[in-house]
């Protein structure tokens, strides 16, 4: 019985193919010369190289963190290749120049790059290993002044903007993995929304790891000027491999007065097999800064992939009346481990944060919610609402919750709710006794459990998320 429930939640990994493409790969190993080569390949200005080297030197003095509730063998940072790019050099302004194999790859992943097939209403930046291969709808966006391009391009084309904000939310020495990323990041997306502009399209980046023995270190920076709005989506996948591959990304968001950023992730990196062989180590630092008054940053994540997930998308609520939100669904099956949650740092007056976390554990999966809510001295009348729900499927998995609350201003109002439930025979039987199939019953129960998070996702992604969990769309009446 539980076997069939588990089979329902674990869909076979559909994105495990490898694209056979000649790649330009830097041999494994990390030293200052490797960083110089990366910087040179990207045609970066000297200040960027200096910044990378500073991060690298800091990183050398740091130690890998092991406080999280996950276990894995030592990572040999010298055995990783820090740069891999398809050889046919892509020209970003013309899709005809892109290797057809790459276009085909993204098409297989459901991300068409060709003009006639493009997703309506979504501009896509496609990142393959260490480079961005195409960005769609650039002209449409340019008309409203929105910049959306690969970060390597932004460093060359918009150095002042990048220099002002890069590292302003996640400093180059923030933590071990962020420092490593700062030293070796290869590509990622850059988005800039000018004052008063509501971005006319959903922006999205699709990350694909293809080459073996490589790490992916992307860096994303989004800046929303006064009164602007942007919704950004991020998706990812990787081939099935026996080895563990490291993915250490950094995402920085900056929202100025009255600006709003909505950031959604569907993380579907290869999770490893049933015995826990292979899979991506997803060690990611994501943080947003509500710099301006009345600004708002919303994180929504659906984490179904990766062997190990270590990420805490957070918000620094600096501007008065600013709002931070975190909505998360994390699924661990087989031997997957996830230690994920958020950090809400309240600095400004009347700042508000909402945390809704849904953890689903199946197989021998271990799922940990770890969250910090910190109310600083000057944050008068700050409010936080946290809700952490865990669902267990089977009896060999685990759910853990570590909420940290640090309040330094007595006017704060904090609410915390937590629950753990087990998807059981009785619930399934109840649905079946009303005529629903086993599949529909499980879908319904899991979907209902995640509903509060799914409703925060943009429509295209909500469907994708439900499909990923083996969930049929809940077309709720009324």
């Amino acid at each position: 019985m539980t076997g069939s429930i588990e089979a329902q939640v674990l869909q076979p990994y559909k994105y495990g193919f490898v694209t056979d493409i000649e790649a330009d790969v830097i041999p494994p190993g990390l030293n200052e010369d490797v960083i110089r080569v990366i910087s040179q390949k990207k045609g970066e200005p000297p200040w960027m190289l200096e910044w990378r080297l500073r991060a690298y030197r800091q990183w050398l003095k740091m130690t890998e963190p092991h406080w999280s509730n996950v276990t894995y063998g030592p990572i040999d940072y010298q055995a990783i290749s820090y740069y891999a790019a398809p050889k046919a050099k892509p020209r970003l302004d013309s899709l005809e120049q892109v290797d057809p194999k790459l276009i085909e790859t993204f098409e297989k992943l459901g991300i068409p790059l060709e003009e006639r097939k493009r997703l309506a209403g979504v501009a896509v930046d496609a990142v393959f290993d260490s480079v961005s291969v195409a960005t769609t709808f650039r002209e449409t966006l340019a008309k409203s002044g929105v910049i959306f391009c690969a970060i390597s391009e932004a460093i060359r084309e918009y150095p002042d903007l990048v220099r002002e904000y890069l590292g302003s939310v996640v400093p180059h020495n923030d933590n071990f993995f962020a420092a490593l990323n700062s030293a070796v990041f290869t590509d990622g997306s850059f988005a800039y929304i000018p004052k008063g502009v509501r971005c006319p399209l959903e922006l999205s980046t699709y990350f694909r790891i293809n080459a073996s023995s490589t790490g992916q270190f992307e860096r994303t920076l989004i800046v929303a000027e006064e009164g602007s709005y942007v919704s950004y989506l991020e998706g990812c996948s990787a081939p099935v491999r026996d080895e563990n591959q490291l993915h250490a990304a950094v995402v920085e968001l900056v929202a100025l007065d009255n600006a709003q950023i909505k950031y959604s992730t569907i993380q579907n990196w290869y999770p490893g097999d049933e015995a826990g062989r292979g899979g991506i180590y997803n060690f990611v630092t994501k943080r947003g800064k509500c710099l301006g008054r009345n600004s708002k940053i919303s994180w929504t994540q659906v984490e179904t992939g990766s062997a190990i997930t270590w990420k805490y998308p957070g918000c620094i609520l600096q501007g008065d009346n600013s709002v931070g939100e975190f909505y998360s669904v994390a699924v661990t099956n087989n031997r997957q481990q996830a230690d994920t949650g958020t950090k809400m740092i309240h600095l400004g007056k009347n700042t508000r944060s909402t945390i809704v976390s849904k953890g689903i554990s199946a197989g021998r999966g271990q799922n940990t919610y770890r969250g910090l809510v910190k109310i600083m001295k000057g944050a008068e009348h700050a409010r936080n609402y946290s809700q952490c729900d865990s669902m267990l499927i089977g009896d060999k998995c685990g759910a853990h919750t570590f909420p940290y609350i640090d309040v330094r201003n007595s006017s704060a109002i904090m609410e915390h709710e937590a629950s753990t439930s087990k998807i059981g025979e009785d619930q399934i039987f109840y649905c079946k006794q009303r005529g629903l199939s086993n599949e529909d019953a499980v879908n319904m129960i899991v979907n209902g459990f995640c509903k509060e998070v799914f409703k925060e996702l943009p429509m295209e992604f909500a469907v994708e998320a439900q499909r990923l969990l083996g969930i049929s769309l809940e077309g709720s009446v009324g």
Partner: protein
């Protein structure tokens, strides 16, 4: 023991013979014989632990119960060979003693999914949200609910009485051939009991049958059973008509146990 005086096979909806069932290795049902014909109302009564709920769950197909001997025919077909969802689609409905909650799924969506699963099996067209709401209007009236209950998650935060009433709403919507009500009367106050019982009575159709599993006589004052069976120690120890239920109300169950022990 046959529960009916009408032997003609055409009208038999449910035929249980020598049914033995156990849970976690413990035998609960020890040879049940029961025949239910269309148009009939049967009451299955008995003390706590006599196997009443087990009988209901076994007919519904709960996977925790293992049938170790005997047979159950439903409309002449082997019921035990059918999956729970197949039984439901064929018209077997179990009103649960403890209905479970499903968070995040509205009552309306759940009801429509269930109805469409049943309709599909019957070769009827599935109903869209709008058609479904139209079809639902009368059913809501029958149980005296407004549509605010439809947008609430299934049984989530419902009171005991509301949950029971929700079971009856499902009964009304799905229109089963065989309705088994497992202690639907327990935990209801007098007014709620009256409403629920009258609704069940109103929902009776000539081509369907109802089995009321109950501990108490009081629901039978609202729905008159054609037959009353007393379950004790996993067997039906006595069958009769409404008068038997009255006798039980006066004397309790102990005298039957003694009688069964002697006999």
């Amino acid at each position: 023991m046959r529960g009916s005086g009408k032997p003609e096979r055409e009208s038999a909806l449910l035929e249980i013979e020598n049914l033995h069932a156990s849970v976690e290795g413990r035998e609960i049902l020890r040879g049940i014989d029961l025949r239910v014909n269309v148009g009939e109302v049967h009451a299955v009564m008995g003390p706590n632990g006599s196997g009443k709920s087990t009988l209901a769950q076994v007919i519904g197909g709960h996977p925790a119960y293992a049938v170790t001997a005997g047979s159950v025919l439903y409309q002449g077909k082997d019921l035990l060979a059918m999956k729970p969802e197949e039984r439901a689609r064929e018209g077997v409905f179990l009103a649960f003693q403890y209905p479970v909650a499903i968070r995040g799924i509205t009552n309306a969506y759940f009801l429509r999914s269930a109805l469409n699963a049943v309709r599909k099996a019957r070769g009827q067209e599935e109903l869209g949200p709008v058609e479904f709401m139209d079809a639902l209007e009368d059913k809501l009236k029958v149980i005296g609910w407004d549509d605010s209950y439809l947008n609430r998650p299934v049984n989530d935060g419902f009171s005991g009485g509301e949950k029971k009433r929700n079971e009856i709403l499902q009964l009304a919507v799905l229109e089963p051939k065989l309705a088994i009500l497992d202690e639907t009367d327990s935990g209801l106050d007098i007014d709620a009991l009256k409403t629920v019982a009258h609704t069940v009575d109103k929902l009776r159709r000539p081509e369907s049958a109802t089995v009321l599993v109950t501990h108490y006589y009081r629901i039978l004052t609202h729905i008159t059973p054609d037959f009353v069976h007393v379950l004790s120690g996993g067997r039906i120890v006595k069958s009769g008509t409404k008068e038997l239920a009255l006798e039980l109300e006066e004397k309790g169950y102990d005298w039957l146990r003694e009688e069964a022990a002697v006999g």
